[in-house]
């Protein structure tokens, strides 16, 4: 479903990604681990289409379609979803407005009928119920006054509403205590689907106790240095990232 081929990217002339190759099939969860500054977050931003990065070589294919020239909103319409490490606060814009605008923008883009207010509310309430999220969160302004855990749960809610083909979760565990982390992981697990590819980006193994990946990749110095099963995460937890130092690479 997701195929990244020889992806090179730089910021302001500085090369950050140096030839990434990665295939994630539908139904699979892949974890990308790596030391700080390895390019993990850059990879997630580049897949989602954030400005400021130059893709100098390579392709990002989703269901065979290259995304690299598309605007972020068009990628979202193609099925890309990025769960942010630090979700943004938008005062004065209620969550429902935001979600409705997002969902209907995607539906418009894909030639589907927009949901009217009634249909939308019904759908969202069903999602909040499934995820055990309070409806109160819908009325509040996007992420304003949310705790760290609430912000991440809100990301999961957005993911449930937008139902992406590819979900990327960027450092979802950062800033969460263990209880919040469990709740968020539970949400991700509920959204596991044979039609969805999921990429979990994390520095620590602990998230992977709760979201069990099919494959683990180590990203260091802009390249995937090793790939393996979930046991690789355990090994990294024990040994750290020392072997992926520049010299070792």
């Amino acid at each position: 479903m997701l195929e990244i081929k020889n992806l090179h990217a730089s910021i302001g002339g500085k090369e950050i990604l140096r030839g990434i190759n990665l295939t994630v099939n539908a139904g699979e969860i892949h974890a990308i681990m790596g030391p700080n500054g390895s390019g993990k977050s850059t990879l997630s931003y580049i897949i989602a289409g954030r400005d400021g990065y130059d893709v100098t070589e390579g392709e990002i294919l989703l269901d065979g379609k290259d995304l690299t020239a598309l605007a972020p909103e068009d990628r979202a319409a193609e099925g890309v979803f990025l769960g942010f490490q630090y979700p943004v606060e938008i005062p004065g814009v209620p969550n429902t407005t935001f979600l409705k605008e997002a969902l209907n923008s995607i539906r418009r883009h894909n030639g589907e009928d927009e949901l009217d207010a009634m249909q939308f509310v019904k759908m969202v309430r069903q999602k909040t119920k499934e995820l055990g999220i309070s409806d109160d969160m819908l009325k509040r302004a996007v992420n304003v006054g949310f705790s760290g855990g609430e912000k991440k749960r809100n990301e999961i809610l957005q993911m449930a509403v937008l139902n992406p083909r590819l979900a990327i979760l960027d450092e979802t565990d950062s800033g969460l205590d263990i209880d919040a982390l469990k709740i968020v992981a539970e949400g991700v697990n509920k959204l596991r689907s044979p039609d969805r590819a999921t990429l979990v980006i994390t520095h620590y193994q602990r998230l992977l106790d709760h979201i069990v990946p099919d494959h683990v990749h180590v990203l260091a110095h802009g390249k995937i240095r090793r790939s393996g099963g979930k046991e690789l995460a355990m090994e990294l937890e024990a040994k750290g990232y020392a072997e992926f130092d520049e010299a070792a690479a």
């Binding site: 400005d51 979803f81 943004v88 004065g92 407005t97 605008e101 969902l103 819908l138």
Partner: protein
């Protein structure tokens, strides 16, 4: 000498039309008008050499000979009154077309006890002594010339009086329609709002422009709020791209009373609203706020001076501006805490959002404090749309134009929250929504659920 010719043009106009101006029979009014034109002749139009006019230049308009309107103009006049309220809304309404009362569009019948709504000319006829005391009050400051010109030329305007203890539920809307003709016209409304002790009213002023020709409005509004009275004063300025809109407001605020102002500026080639508010009684509060949304080469200036004269008074100000293209915004906010005004609490915030690299904002917050037990805070920022927020919205599938709109609405929210009347807040949002460049859901659409 462009400047000279403008001044001379107004002076010439005055001698031409003075006999046709209302109130000719009043022995105190003629000297007031004569004094006004003489003073204006001395001072001339305000120039950027004056400190409070540093950022707003009137000269580009000096070569237009704005002519006074001698009769009601019906060219291009819209049939509807351009109210900000829905058609079936129950409001009292006065409509002026280039300064002239349009009785057909107005509705001031069956006013409740305690409320008087008149035109200036009607008040001159029915209550000249009362009016004399109000109109002869001095206006100082650097915009004195505009007030003097207004004193000479004032042809109409509204007079609202709320009697002691009268709490008026229905809002009073006053609409000034400008333009309507391709000839360059000027009007100089003089407005007066007097709230007696313990009274309350909501006033909505709507300046709206039509047509293609340049026009000038030079308005002076005097407001008196007696002890325990409350005035909510909302203004929409939606003038045309050829309009020059000058408004000078003076407010006297008594003990335990409230003055709440919100100005929404969404159109006008050059606009300046200058508010001078005086807190004269303990327990008085004023809340002066606004939003300006400008594009093209529009210029919008809000200049406020709030003076705390006595102990235990409070003020708050929140101004938010959105500037696109080559437009320019000016916010000058001064809070003066006089020596006796202990325990003053004053807050002021000015934020501007620049949507284009060519837009410009000049913000000048000032505190002048002569008392020692005072809480005062002010802040002014100018910035662009946050790139991360924009990416966040776009990454959810929201196209860039709509994402920008949502962020603009979000930005303005903090100012609109200051509008305590929720219905009117929503009507102001309608106007903001009209201004926004692309369609999107309203940010406040769901808040009432």
């Amino acid at each position: 000498m462009i400047e000279h010719s403008t001044v001379q043009s107004f002076v010439d106009q005055f001698s031409e039309i003075k006999s046709r101006l209302p109130g000719e029979q009043l022995d105190w009014l003629t000297p007031l008008r004569d004094l006004g034109i003489a003073r204006f002749g001395q001072l001339g139009m305000p120039t950027t050499r004056l400190e409070t006019w540093k950022y707003t230049k009137l000269q580009p308009f000096d070569d237009t000979a704005f002519k006074p309107v001698s009769e009601i103009i019906r060219e291009n006049q819209p049939q509807q009154s351009s109210s900000i309220f829905p058609e079936d809304a129950d409001v009292f309404r006065l409509v002026f077309s280039n300064g002239y009362l349009d009785g057909a569009l107005s509705n001031v019948r069956e006013l409740p006890a305690g409320l008087t709504v008149q035109t200036l000319a009607q008040a001159m006829d029915s209550n000249p002594e009362w009016l004399q005391a109000k109109l002869c009050r001095e206006h100082n400051g650097e915009s004195e010339a505009l007030v003097a010109l207004n004193a000479a030329m004032m042809e109409s305007g509204y007079v609202i009086h709320v009697a002691q203890g009268a709490k008026i539920e229905k809002p009073v809307e006053v609409i000034f329609m400008g333009g309507i003709t391709s000839k360059p016209v000027a009007h100089h409304p003089r407005n007066l709002v007097v709230l007696e002790e313990g009274s309350e009213v909501t006033l909505v002023k709507n300046n709206i422009g039509f047509g293609v020709g340049p026009y000038l409005s030079n308005t002076v509004t005097d407001i008196e709020i007696a002890d325990g009275a409350k005035l909510r004063h909302y203004k929409v300025q939606a003038e045309t791209l050829e309009a020059v809109h000058l408004s000078t407001i003076n407010v006297e605020i008594g003990a335990d009373s409230l003055y709440e102002y919100f100005g929404l500026s969404i159109g006008g080639r050059l606009s300046r609203t200058e508010i001078s508010a005086h807190l004269n009684g303990s327990g008085g509060h004023c809340s002066i706020n606004g939003s300006y949304l400008m594009r093209g080469s529009e210029h919008c200036d809000y200049t406020t001076v709030i003076e705390h004269h006595v102990p235990d008074t409070t003020c708050s100000e929140v101004f938010k501006g959105v500037l696109d293209d080559d437009s320019r915004g000016v916010f000058q906010g001064k809070i003066i805490v006089h020596k006796d005004a202990q325990r003053t609490d004053g807050r002021q915030l000015s934020k501007a959002l620049l949507l284009s690299n060519k837009a410009e904002m000049d913000a000048k917050p000032e505190l002048e404090i002569y008392a020692d037990d005072v809480k005062c805070a002010h802040g002014a920022t100018t910035g662009q749309l946050d790139e991360t927020s924009l990416f966040y919205l776009r990454s959810r599938g929201i196209p860039e134009a709509q994402a920008r709109n949502l962020l603009i609405q979000s930005f303005l929210g903090e100012a609109l929250e200051q509008v305590s009347d929720e219905k009117i807040r929503s009507l102001l949002m309608d106007r903001i929504f009209d201004w926004l460049p692309a369609q999107c859901y309203r940010a406040d659409e769901w808040t009432s659920e």
